[in-house]
C-alpha cells in the first residue's frame, strides 16, 4: 500500500517567501454548456486569476432552431406553437405576445372575455415562471428546499393550465382572434382556491430564502447593474426594475385590459445591499408574484360573459404592412416584428427575446468578480436559453 504524505504544514525553520513562488498566471476556465447553474445550454469562457474572474465571454446558440426562418414558412395560426417553445417557462406570455401582434397588424378586435382570460393566463404563467426562477436561484446558492416548495406550488398552476387547455408546458392556448377553449365557472373557482392557498406561501419563501442569512450574503452587493448601463443595453423586465426603474409595459403602454386593473410596479430599493444588485433583482420577482395575485383577483371578479374567440376564415390573410409590438413577458419585453406582403404567411418574422438582450450584459456584470459569484449573477438574470437562441 502506498502511503500518502499528509503533512502539509510547512516546517517553521524553512523560510518561505509567499510572494515569489505563487504563480499568478491567468487561466481560462470553461463553464458550460452542460453546467447545472447556467440554466440551460449557456457556455461561459472565464479568464481567471486565482479566484477572481477578470473577464467572462458568453457563447450562445446551442439551442438555435432558426424559429424566424420557420415563421416565414408558416401561416399566422401555425406559428403559435413555435412561440411557446421559445420561452418554455412562460409559454402563455409568448402565445399572447404573438397573437396580439398579429391581431394589431390585422386590425382585429377580440372579445372582452378573451382579453380577460388572456390576462389571467399571463399572470398565472408569470407566477409559475417566477417560481421556477426563485427555486432554481436558491438551488444555485446551495439552498435545495425552496426549489421543492416552488415546484409544489407551480404544480397547481400547471394543473389549472391542463384543465384549461390540455397542456402543461407548451400551451398554444391563445390563438389569433381569441383562445382555443373557453373557461368554465368551475375553473374560475379552482383558480380562486389556488390564490387563497398561494398568497401566504410567499411569506414562507421570504422566511425560507429571501432573508436567509447565507442567501443574502451570496447575493447582496453582487453584480450591481447601474441605471444608465441597463438602459444602454436595453435591459427589461424584473432586471431593469431591480435597478430601481419603474418601467413596466403593462402600465406604460397598456395592452389587453391592464389599464382597468390596479397593481403596483415593484422596484429594487437596495434595502439589503446596493441598488441594482442580484438580491434586488431576485426580490422584485417575489414582489411581482404578489402583484400578479392582485391582478388575478380583480380579473377573476370582473371576467365578462360572451364569446371567447371571433370567427376567422380558414385561410387568414393580412393586408401588406408591418408592425413591431412588445408585451411584458415574465423576463422582460417580448417583441415581435412582422412584415406582411399580403399573403397567408408573413414575409419576415423577428422575435426579440428578453433573455437575449438581458444576457448581453453578462460580461459587464461578471467582470472582476469572484468565481463563486458568477452563478449568482447568471442566476439573477433569469435566462431561458430557448428564447435566447430561438
Amino acid at each position: 500500500m502506498p502511503t500518502i504524505e499528509r503533512n502539509f504544514i510547512t516546517p517553521p525553520d524553512i523560510d518561505v517567501d509567499t510572494t515569489s513562488d505563487v504563480a499568478t498566471e491567468e487561466m481560462l476556465v470553461n463553464m458550460g454548456p452542460q453546467h447545472p447553474s447556467t440554466h440551460g445550454v449557456l457556455r461561459l469562457v472565464l479568464r481567471t486569476d486565482g479566484e477572481m474572474v477578470l473577464e467572462a465571454v458568453p457563447h450562445i446558440g446551442y439551442l438555435h432552431r432558426c424559429a424566424e426562418k420557420i415563421g416565414e414558412n408558416l401561416a399566422y395560426f401555425q406559428y403559435v406553437p413555435y412561440t411557446d417553445r421559445m420561452d418554455y417557462l412562460a409559454g402563455m406570455n409568448n402565445n399572447v405576445g404573438w397573437c396580439l401582434t398579429v391581431e394589431k397588424l390585422a386590425k382585429l378586435e377580440i372579445p372582452r372575455r378573451a382579453q380577460y382570460i388572456r390576462v389571467i393566463m399571463c399572470e398565472l404563467n408569470r407566477i409559475a415562471s417566477h417560481l421556477v426562477s426563485m427555486g432554481a436561484y436558491g438551488m444555485d446558492m446551495g439552498a435545495f428546499t425552496p426549489f421543492l416548495y416552488a415546484f409544489r406550488e407551480r404544480e397547481f398552476i400547471l394543473d389549472l393550465f391542463e384543465a384549461a387547455c390540455g397542456a402543461r408546458l407548451t400551451y398554444s392556448y391563445a390563438t389569433i382572434g381569441g383562445l382555443t377553449h373557453d373557461l368554465t365557472p368551475q375553473w374560475i373557482e379552482k383558480c380562486r382556491e389556488f390564490l387563497d392557498y398561494f398568497e401566504p406561501k410567499i411569506t414562507e419563501y421570504d422566511q425560507l430564502l429571501s432573508f436567509n442569512h447565507i442567501f443574502v450574503k451570496r447575493t447582496a452587493n453582487i453584480g450591481i447593474l447601474p441605471k444608465d448601463l441597463a438602459l444602454s443595453y436595453c435591459i427589461t423586465g424584473p432586471m431593469l426594475r431591480g435597478s430601481g426603474i419603474p418601467w413596466d409595459l403593462r402600465r406604460k403602454k397598456p395592452y389587453l385590459v391592464y389599464d382597468e386593473l390596479e397593481f403596483d410596479i415593484p422596484v429594487g430599493d437596495g434595502r439589503i445591499g446596493s441598488l441594482g444588485d442580484a438580491w434586488d433583482r431576485y426580490f422584485v420577482r417575489i414582489q411581482e408574484m404578489r402583484q400578479s395575485i392582485r391582478i388575478l383577483r380583480q380579473a377573476l371578479d370582473r371576467i365578462p360573459g360572451g364569446q371567447h374567440r371571433i370567427a376567422l376564415p380558414r385561410v387568414f390573410k393580412i393586408p401588406p404592412g408591418e408592425i413591431y409590438m412588445e408585451t411584458e413577458g415574465a423576463r422582460g419585453q417580448l417583441g415581435f416584428y412582422i412584415e406582411s406582403h399580403g399573403g397567408p404567411i408573413p414575409y419576415r418574422v423577428k422575435a426579440r427575446g428578453p433573455s437575449f438582450c438581458n444576457l448581453s450584459i453578462a460580461h459587464e456584470l461578471c467582470r472582476d468578480c469572484l468565481l463563486a459569484d458568477v452563478p449568482a449573477i447568471i442566476g439573477s438574470i433569469d435566462i431561458v436559453m430557448g428564447e435566447t437562441d430561438r
Binding site: 401555425q78 394589431k104 444602454s232 436595453c234 413591431y324 417583441g335 416584428y337 404567411i345
Partner: protein, 181 residues
C-alpha cells in the same frame, strides 16, 4: 414628438438627402436614411435633447432579393419622452455594409452580431469583429464560426452536410401538401 416632427427635425439638421423614404402615419412609423449618413443621424437621435432615443429595442434585418437590397430596421424608443420611431437603413445586397452603432447603444452589440449571422449585413467598426475570407465582420453569435451562408436570406440553400453530419432533404416548403396557399 410625433414621427413626422422627428422626420422634420432630421431634415432640418441634415438636409433633404438624409431621408430617402418614409411612412409616418401607419402602425409602424419609419423613416429610411442612407447608410452613409446613418452614423451621424444615429448620434443625433441618441443625444439631441428633443429626441433622446436612449433605447434600441430591436434590430431586425430584412432581405429583399427583388430590390437587390438588405435592410436593417432599428426600433428606437425614448425612455423619458416616450416617443418611438423605426429607422431603416437599406444597403445593396452585393455590398452590405452599415456602420456599427454599438458605441451609442450597447444593445446593438449582440443585435448586430445576430443580424450579420443570419442575414450577412456587415457592420463596420463593430467592437467584436473578426477577419476571415469574408472580410472584417462581427463575430457570429448563434451559428458556429465556420457556418456557410446566412439562413434568413431568401435564397439560402440548406446545407446537405456539416462536419460529417448529414442534413435532411432540402426544404422545399412550397411543395408540401399542407403549405398555406
Amino acid at each position: 414628438m410625433s414621427p413626422s416632427d422627428i422626420a422634420q427635425l432630421i431634415l432640418q439638421r441634415f438636409g433633404p438627402h438624409a431621408v430617402t423614404a418614409s411612412s409616418l402615419d401607419t402602425l409602424h412609423p419609419w423613416i429610411a436614411v442612407p447608410a452613409a449618413h446613418w452614423l451621424e443621424i444615429a448620434a443625433f437621435l441618441r443625444n439631441d435633447h428633443q429626441l433622446q432615443f436612449d433605447l434600441l429595442r430591436c434590430l431586425t434585418g430584412l432581405d429583399y432579393p427583388d430590390r437587390r437590397q438588405l435592410c436593417a430596421a432599428y426600433d428606437l424608443l425614448s425612455f423619458d419622452l416616450g416617443h418611438e420611431l423605426c429607422i431603416k437603413v437599406s444597403v445593396p445586397r452585393d455590398h452590405p455594409e452599415i456602420p456599427s452603432v454599438a458605441h451609442l447603444w450597447r444593445a446593438a452589440d449582440w443585435h448586430e452580431r445576430e443580424t450579420f449571422d443570419l442575414l450577412g449585413i456587415r457592420f463596420t467598426n463593430h467592437p467584436d469583429s473578426v477577419t476571415d475570407h469574408l472580410g472584417t465582420h462581427p463575430r457570429r453569435i448563434l451559428l458556429p464560426d465556420d457556418w456557410v451562408g446566412h439562413p434568413l436570406r431568401k435564397d439560402y440553400a440548406f446545407p446537405r452536410e456539416y462536419h460529417g453530419i448529414p442534413g435532411s432533404v432540402e426544404l422545399d416548403w412550397a411543395q408540401k401538401s399542407d403549405y398555406p396557399k
